[in-house]
């Protein structure tokens, strides 16, 4: 645990100002959501809530890939990190371990923004729990995608572009890759079944594990792919 926190600290310190991007986006989107809800006409709160849900799920999970891309771009992209591939630590620890640490930080951020959303009466406690869980598993998926993309493309711009394409497909493409579930769930709360929600979580976590596994495989081969 201590080791992960130290690695996290060094990674975040090195990022400098770009470290704040996910924090700014997360709090910015939450604040905007609160603004929309508070400004909605009387009787339109339910519709405003769906807008807030869509805002949260469209913008927050994609930024969970940011720190992962920024942390791994050095190994994947920069020339001067060759010595890293000779260090004794297992690639499993530096790959999946660090990825999960960043995801855990993102999930903490999501938890923090749920508190004002609940306290201001926008989300009832049971809805806040569902939204928190949905955003968390979606963040897992986007984080895993970020891990895979940076090792696959070995290029920061391409990796961010790929994440933006997926996020755009969700927002405008009418392709229910991830995010439609939440708005449907919120609209149809009366019909929402616990088993359906669990299946959704299992499905997204399953995809995330597969993507992480593929990313891990690429991480093992990174030295050879980069220099071989």
């Amino acid at each position: 645990m201590k080791m992960w926190l130290k690695l996290l600290y060094y990674d975040l310190k090195e990022m400098g100002i770009v470290f704040f991007v996910p924090i700014i986006v997360t709090f910015g989107v939450a604040s905007y959501g609160i603004f929309i809800y508070c400004g909605a006409p009387v009787g339109q709160e339910s519709s405003a809530m769906v807008t807030v849900m869509n805002l949260l799920q469209n913008f927050i999970p994609p930024v969970s890939s940011w720190w992962i891309i920024m942390a791994f771009h050095r190994y994947a992209e920069e020339e001067g990190t060759e010595a890293f591939f000779t260090y004794g630590i297992s690639k499993k620890k530096t790959g999946i371990g660090r990825t999960l640490t960043f995801m855990a930080v993102m999930i903490m951020l999501i938890f923090i923004i749920m508190i004002p959303l609940h306290l201001m009466g926008i989300l009832r406690i049971e809805t806040a729990v569902i939204v928190f869980l949905v955003l968390s598993v979606q963040s897992l998926l986007y984080g895993s995608c970020g891990f895979l993309f940076i090792l696959w493309f070995r290029n920061t711009i391409w990796s961010i572009t790929a994440i933006l394409i997926i996020a755009s497909l969700n927002i405008w493409g009418n392709i229910p890759v991830l995010s439609r579930y939440l708005s449907i769930t919120v609209r149809m709360q009366a019909q929402m079944s616990l088993s359906g929600l669990c299946l959704y979580f299992l499905f997204i976590i399953g995809i995330s594990v597969v993507i992480n596994y593929k990313g891990q495989k690429l991480f093992f081969e990174l030295g050879t792919r980069k220099y071989g």
């Binding site: 310190k13 001067g80 890293f84 004794g88 530096t94 220099y227 071989g228």
Partner: protein, 282 residues
């Protein structure tokens, strides 16, 4: 450490061709022109990439066992960069974690900083260091964890003369009780630092020996003469000129020739650079 019949291809290009070398204690130089296969060999030794065929072992441990080998190796690659926002001490602590050092790493970091004389800069950010200091930091990360084998690839390239001399001294100190493998195309580095030397050419080992032995091999093949400008031009057409100085309107030249030259010339004591040139042109 024994390298036996190691070969490596990049597509159709044969980067290493059945390389056989044995490294012992002390500083061992790998000398060769760009593209000779030095960096490929360094990368194979440091487990960054794998050979296509052949074996490597050190004290009975095979290179198939990468985890064990990585504990024994410290590596300073040709291009080396670190986290620019971290301080020297922080970056080495970071690397200590990545190297899997669990106990005594604080002391090891302090020792590594001391070994490369960076104590005064220990709490400075890496972005503020000069190129030479970053190279020294590179050595510090290589020696962190007290590895038995230290591999350094072109460590003095781009350094100013003062930093280069400091670096040579540092490498000599590291070679006491350890195996240091130094890859370079700068002959002066080899001559002043290395106990042993292997010359690589087009992926093949040309020769291995001490710098003195290699120099003596070119005995009788190096000549010097004082010639006019025209004779100098003519000489350059069929002999390899290794040095020329303008002297009293003419030229004092040194050149390589297997046979006694036609012009008036006397045999010269071979320099390592000349022996190297003679060996790879042979």
């Amino acid at each position: 450490m024994k390298i036996h019949d190691v070969s490596k291809n990049y597509g159709k290009v044969r980067a290493l061709d059945k390389v056989n070398i044995a490294f012992g204690e002390g500083v061992h130089g790998l000398l060769g022109e760009n593209g000779a296969g030095k960096t490929t060999l360094m990368r194979i030794i440091t487990t960054v990439i794998e050979q296509d065929s052949g074996t490597i072992e050190h004290n009975g441990v095979s290179w198939d066992n990468k985890e064990e080998i990585r504990k024994m190796i410290g590596y300073l690659p040709q291009k080396f960069s670190m986290y620019r926002q971290l301080t020297v001490r922080e970056s080495l602590r970071h690397i200590a974690i990545l190297k899997g050092m669990e106990k005594g790493w604080k002391l090891a970091v302090d020792n590594a900083i001391e070994s490369v004389n960076l104590e005064e800069k220990a709490d400075s950010r890496i972005g503020e260091l000069s190129g030479g200091m970053v190279r020294r930091l590179g050595i510090a990360q290589a020696v962190l964890g007290n590895p038995e084998i230290i591999v350094v690839d072109e460590p003095t390239a781009g350094l100013d003369p003062e930093e280069r001399m400091r670096f040579r001294l540092l490498l000599r100190q590291l070679g006491v009780g350890k195996t240091v493998i130094l890859s370079t195309h700068i002959v002066d580095d080899v001559e002043s630092v290395c106990d042993n030397l292997t010359i690589l050419h087009k992926g093949k080992v040309v020769i291995t020996g001490t710098p003195k032995e290699i120099k003596s091999m070119a005995g009788g093949k190096i000549w010097k003469a004082s010639v006019s400008r025209d004779d100098c031009m003519k000489l350059a057409e069929d002999k390899l000129i290794t040095d020329q100085k303008i002297e009293d309107g003419g030229y004092d030249v040194r050149f390589v020739s297997d046979d006694t030259p036609d012009i008036k010339a006397v045999p010269a004591e071979p320099r390592l650079e000349e022996a190297y040139m003679w060996l790879i042109k042979r």
